[in-house]
């Protein structure tokens, strides 16, 4: 039944966003054809589906993904004869126009372009040197190149970026102005806008290092931890319900608070990993360490009423394997659930060996209220709960491991060989001990020798600030993923991460203090034409705020935001009968008081019906691990920020705030409004236009009980909806 889920498409290739800008060559290397950069993508797109790693789908018993396969002499011919295209059958077939012999065959709808054919020919001429896939080789810490513009190189990041720009004949964009910088970095690091006093302090700090001091202040805030927690919860597929049709509540918020505490204390990433994957197996595990294992109890869990219980237990294990592979290895392991991976050296045996590691957890999938192992967690003081401890789902290992079998074609009833626990073979050097349980495996991930983990993690950090990673497929570092735009930089950051003792704040600080991050985001016509996707980083990228920050910012600007951290989820108003209309059980427990205006991080996250403000603004339902969110631009979103109650409340309170906090002068009030929303004053043209709008509105609302307030609310509505406001500059 599941076999069709993951079969690989034979559809033709679309051009990728990368096409306009070729991947970077390593500095110092001659400009010869490089397998990973130039050839592997061609073979992977066009040939590997039939001549690759998957033995079952292999045609003519030919594989082109290894030199042994490609160079083998069979019936007197070689698919590839190094140095000699004329004697290479593969080249002959690719160049052929005869429908019976050309490769790829016409029915595949694939064809090599003339340029690709030329590359392939040159590669064979130059000796057809293969390389292992780049991401499976250990990162190499090159010395950062000499900066092209030393004055604009704040740290090694810039030296890599500048070197690339220089080769392309481009220069970095000028530094953004201070007002843009403080709004940019404050929104990025804390999820909140800078306040007028913070802006003033920054502007009035003429000493060198003012920006770095600002960054250090922000990194030390609890807001920073909460903002990074939000990203981690997307990966952890954290939600307050169990998923599937009945979607019952699951009191796992203490795990969310664990993440906040861990990130607030800058827990090293190796410990952060080990405690979440296997905290329960640590010697003398503390309550905190057991709580951390809630990470993998976020897997959706069916009530198991109409489904075979075992099938749905296994779905949970599958989810744990796939999530782990995505979050730490950046691999699409799920392809190997049903068959050997078509593109990456991950066999179905590898998949089920990793499965065996996660297959020994106590589970009760059937019947109401039986949710598997839990631990008691004290309710927060003053919380409006019963005062009883919360039973938080955590991991607990069975005393004796379950047997694990390969599920042929992904069907659990169709058992293949029995397998034992192991990490994917391609990632374990010959002679190295194999991890045998979750704790071994977690330690193995972060022992500093895994080629993927540090790269995958720093790439996601990069993505949080630039909108895209250095590898633009943050969930696929395999052969079908895109190559890094700046491989030297990615490797430098990855090794720096490990050498710093897996210091997450250190890497985040490096990124936001780089001159690359501080560039202006203006897109000149020439640059827009040359590099529309900003692969070269010759400018900063504007990014629309995530759902949570659009709401939180409006609350912060208006002064409504309540700063409390942690605790049970809250229920800010949603439309009446929102769940009932979808026939979902349960009732929205309308919050009151402070809980109306808590950060969106604490909004009750229901998988099957997310709060509509979050859903409409692209908040993920978190049914599965989300590595990158959609960022859409829809009319239904405009209606949210124009008309949804929380935004109307914010506009009203912002108007009150302007009347209360600024002197009785429209110009000064407008100054404050601009400061709060945009962290900048209005220019003269804007000032004139807004003040004349204000005059019109005061006349329009002359008969209203409070004409001034109504008119300023109108101004506030405009300001809260500006593209400039809802976009990180």
């Amino acid at each position: 039944m599941a076999s069709i889920l993951l079969a690989v498409s034979l559809a033709p290739c679309t051009t990728t966003a990368q096409a306009a800008v070729p991947p970077e060559a390593r500095p110092g290397e001659p400009s010869r054809i490089e397998f990973n950069r130039d050839i592997r993508p061609i073979l992977s797109d066009n040939c590997f589906a039939c001549h690759g790693f998957d033995g079952k789908k292999r045609k003519a018993e030919l594989r082109l993904d290894t030199p042994e396969g490609a160079f083998a002499i069979r019936d007197g011919t070689q698919a590839i004869k190094p140095g000699d295209p004329a004697q290479s059958e593969a080249w002959h077939r690719v160049a052929s126009t005869d429908a019976d012999e050309m490769m790829p065959p016409p029915k595949s709808n694939k064809q090599l372009t003339a340029a690709e054919q030329l590359l392939l020919k040159r590669w064979i001429e130059e000796g057809a040197a293969y390389q292992p896939h780049w991401a499976f080789l250990p990162p190499h810490k090159d010395t950062p190149p000499e900066p092209a513009i030393p004055a604009r190189a704040a740290n090694p990041i810039d030296r890599f970026v500048q070197a690339r720009l220089a080769r392309e004949g481009l220069a970095p964009a000028p530094e953004a102005d201070r007002l843009t910088l403080i709004r940019r970095v404050t929104l990025d690091l804390t999820g909140l806008p800078p306040t007028p006093p913070q802006i003033k302090a920054f502007l009035n700090d003429p000493a060198p290092g003012a920006y770095e001091r600002l960054v250090d202040r922000l990194l030390a805030t609890r807001d920073y931890a909460e903002r990074r927690t939000q990203d981690w919860l997307d990966l952890a597929r954290y939600a307050d319900t169990r998923g599937f049709a009945d979607d019952r509540p699951r009191p796992i918020w203490p795990y969310r608070d664990w993440v906040i505490r861990a990130l607030d204390g800058n827990m090293p990433f190796d410990r952060f990993t080990i405690e979440q994957l296997a905290g329960d197996l640590l010697p003398a595990a503390t309550d905190e360490q057991r709580l951390a294992t809630g990470f993998h109890r976020n897997a959706p869990q069916a009530r198991g009423q109409t489904y075979p219980v075992e099938e749905y237990r296994l779905k949970g294990v599958t989810d744990r394997v796939n999530t782990t592979a995505k979050v730490w290895l950046g691999l699409t392991m799920e392809c190997a659930e049903c068959h050997d991976h078509k593109f990456d050296p991950i066999s179905q045996r590898d998949y089920y060996s990793l499965f065996a590691i996660f297959n020994n957890i106590e589970h009760q999938g059937s019947g109401m209220g039986q949710g598997g192992p839990t631990m008691p967690y004290p309710p927060p003081p003053g919380a409006t709960t019963t005062g009883k401890p919360v039973a938080v789902p955590v991991m607990r290992e069975l005393p004796a491991p379950r047997e694990t079998f390969i599920h042929l074609r992904g069907n659990f009833l169709n058992r293949g060989d029995q397998v034992g626990p192991a990490a994917p073979a391609v990632l374990v050097a010959a002679g190295e001990p194999q991890p045998r349980n979750r704790l071994d495996f977690a330690r193995w991930l972060v022992d500093g020798r895994n080629p993927l983990v540090a790269r995958v993690v720093v790439n996601r950090f990069w993505q949080s600030y630039f909108g895209h990673g250095l590898v633009r497929t943050p969930d696929d570092f395999g052969a079908q993923g895109t190559l890094p735009t700046h491989p030297g930089l990615l490797d430098w950051l990855a090794t720096e991460f490990v050498e710093s003792g897996w210091d997450m704040k250190h890497i985040n600080r490096l990124i936001v203090t780089s001159a690359t991050y501080r560039q202006s985001a203006r897109i000149s016509a020439a640059l827009g034409e040359r590099d529309p996707h900003n692969l070269l980083l010759a400018r900063m990228q504007r990014v629309r705020l995530p759902a949570e920050q659009i709401r939180d910012q409006a609350l912060a600007i208006s002064g409504l935001l309540q700063p409390f951290t942690g605790g049970p989820p809250v229920f800010p108003p949603q439309p009446d009968r929102y769940w009932e209309d979808r026939d979902l059980p349960g009732k929205w427990a309308k919050s009151t008081g402070h809980d109306l205006y808590r950060k969106s991080l604490y909004t009750y996250w229901r998988r099957m019906a997310l709060h509509p403000t979050m859903e409409l603004l692209d908040g993920p339902a978190r049914v599965v691990c989300t590595v990158k969110r959609n960022l859409s631009n829809l009319p239904t979103q405009a209606l949210v920020t124009l008309n949804a109650p929380v935004f109307v409340d914010s506009a009203k309170h912002l108007a009150r705030r302007l009347l209360a906090e600024a002197p009785d002068d429209p110009g000064l009030r407008l100054e404050l409004a601009f400061q709060l929303c945009l962290a900048r004053p209005p220019d003269a043209t804007e000032r004139d236009r807004f003040l004349s709008f204000l005059d019109t509105q005061v006349i329009r609302y002359a008969k209203a009980p409070a004409p001034d307030l109504a008119a300023w609310q109108s101004v506030a509505t405009v300001l809260l909806n500006l593209d400039e406001t809802i976009t990180r500059p």
């Binding site: 498409s9 559809a11 049709a245 699409t332």
Partner: protein
């Protein structure tokens, strides 16, 4: 000939007014072109159609829960003859267990009479008297089969070709490939009705998967305003909002000129579409301008939510150029009392469906509008006995769907199940084949509408699907 699209006239006027105001102040060429009529209609990703399209829009009438082919479209004399006998063992070979039935159930014939209708002689059950009146318009496929007998994965499969709801749905693919022709409404709209049978409607049923979320289906609510937050806050008139938007867009345009970010231009267009939806959607929802005789034809109330009202809404939406309209009608999951439940469902759905087809036809819309009817699977030819009543369990191996209009061969009954109505045996049509055929009718080669995600090219039909040429006009 397609009649001209129905505009939302007040919105069109407002847009002209907005352009008139903007022209003096700003004069940004890019934005002027952005705000002209064509540009508001989203361009699709395909540079052109792969071949001439027979259908320009789709109405998918989704009978959620799984209607019984045995009792509606696929009479089985042998089954009636063997009513009450144990199911032959050979039928149970190579197939999944029943969803809810345990043990070996007995065959159950249909208690309903079937008759030939129209010139085509299309066979329909007595539960569908109104549909009989448009029998000659239908192309009935009796040989459908799918991959699961579980509801949510089944609905996902019928919409996105995979069991997990993680891929784009048919409507999203069409929006992505062909874009939108309407400037006042989204390209893909979902309407819901029916009685609750415990099966919630999930976002994934109209999800965009890895496609940009502007291609997601926009669910219209079935009561109250169809779109959330459509109403301005208390005390804010449309004129007030327009003034606010004028200032807002003026600011956005300046920002666009300064920074050159194309997302700002897209945001300006979004806010304008939102404003036009505020004018257009309530007008749609209030059924303004529909004469009583049309409401009577459908059996719809002007206000009260119903499947009938949704059918009328569907016509109003396709009339306005909406590309893909999907109606979910719930309550077809008849495990325990099929006589009561299927009669109830047919009573609510039969007349409006016939009315929809007749109404589309009389307006000249049926020629290029594809109407599609079916559920996530059919129901078992064996009984699920629940005390004194009986029903049928979920059945994926053979079931019926029908299509009408939009390039289908009218009056055709295609394919067959075995003599029990159990397995699809003749001219089998898999869900992937159905998808390939629908895309074909829309002018798309299903193998060439792809999207690259996570390192490979995805398509609606995955690596499967054949266009069912025999059923095309």
């Amino acid at each position: 000939m397609t009649p001209p699209l129905q505009p939302c006239s007040s919105a069109a006027l407002t847009r002209r007014a907005f352009l008139g105001r903007s022209a003096g102040g700003i004069g940004s060429l890019a934005l002027a072109s952005l705000l002209n009529d064509r540009a508001f209609a989203e361009q699709g990703s395909l540079p052109g159609l792969h071949h001439a399209a027979k259908a320009k829009r789709v109405i998918f009438l989704f009978m959620a829960g799984g209607p019984s082919h045995i009792d509606l479209f696929d009479p089985k004399p042998k089954l009636n003859e063997l009513d009450g006998k144990a199911i032959p063992q050979e039928l149970l070979k190579d197939h999944q267990q029943f969803a809810l039935i345990r043990g070996t159930p007995n065959l159950k014939g249909s208690p309903y009479a079937f008759q030939h209708h129209g010139r085509s002689g299309t066979v329909l059950s007595e539960l569908l008297p109104h549909l009989a009146g448009v029998a000659d318009e239908l192309t009935v496929i009796r040989s459908m089969h799918t991959d699961t007998n579980v509801h949510d994965p089944g609905v996902n499969f019928m919409n996105c070709g995979t069991l997990l709801g993680d891929r784009p749905t048919l409507g999203s693919w069409l929006s992505y490939g062909l874009g939108s022709v309407n400037e006042d409404l989204p390209a893909y709209i979902v309407l819901t009705s029916g009685v609750s049978d415990g099966q919630p409607l999930l976002q994934s049923f109209w999800g965009n998967g890895f496609l940009d979320s502007r291609h997601a289906g926009v669910p219209f609510r079935n009561s109250g305003p169809p779109v959330l937050h459509l109403d301005n806050p208390d005390g804010i008139t449309s004129g007030d909002r327009r003034r606010e938007l004028d200032l807002l867009q003026w600011m956005n345009q300046r920002q666009h000129q300064t920074l050159g970010d194309p997302e700002i231009a897209a945001r300006i267009a979004s806010y304008e579409l939102a404003f036009r939806m505020q004018a257009c959607v309530p007008q749609l929802a209030e059924l303004d301008g529909e004469p009583d005789k049309i409401l009577d034809l459908y059996g719809a109330d002007r206000v009260k939510p119903s499947f009938a009202r949704n059918c009328l809404m569907a016509r109003r939406l396709v009339e306005r150029g909406v590309r893909f309209v999907q109606l979910y009608d719930r309550g077809w999951d008849s495990h325990s009392d099929i006589d009561r439940e299927h009669k109830r469902q047919c009573a609510a759905a039969d007349r409006p469906i016939a009315a929809l087809i007749a109404d589309l036809k009389q307006r000249g819309l049926l020629d290029d509008t594809l109407v599609l009817w079916g559920g996530e699977f059919g129901r078992t030819p064996v009984a699920q006995v629940m005390g004194r009543t009986w029903g049928r369990d979920h059945h994926p191996h053979g079931f019926t769907m029908w299509m009408a209009g939009g390039g289908m061969q009218p009056g055709l009954t295609y394919g067959n199940t075995d003599e029990f109505g159990y397995h699809s045996v003749e001219n089998k049509v898999h869900v992937h084949d159905l998808h390939a055929t629908i895309l074909h009718l829309m002018g798309i080669d299903h193998k060439r509408l792809t999207f690259r995600s996570q390192g490979r090219d995805f398509r609606l039909t995955d690596v499967h699907g054949e266009v069912v040429k025999d059923i095309l006009a």
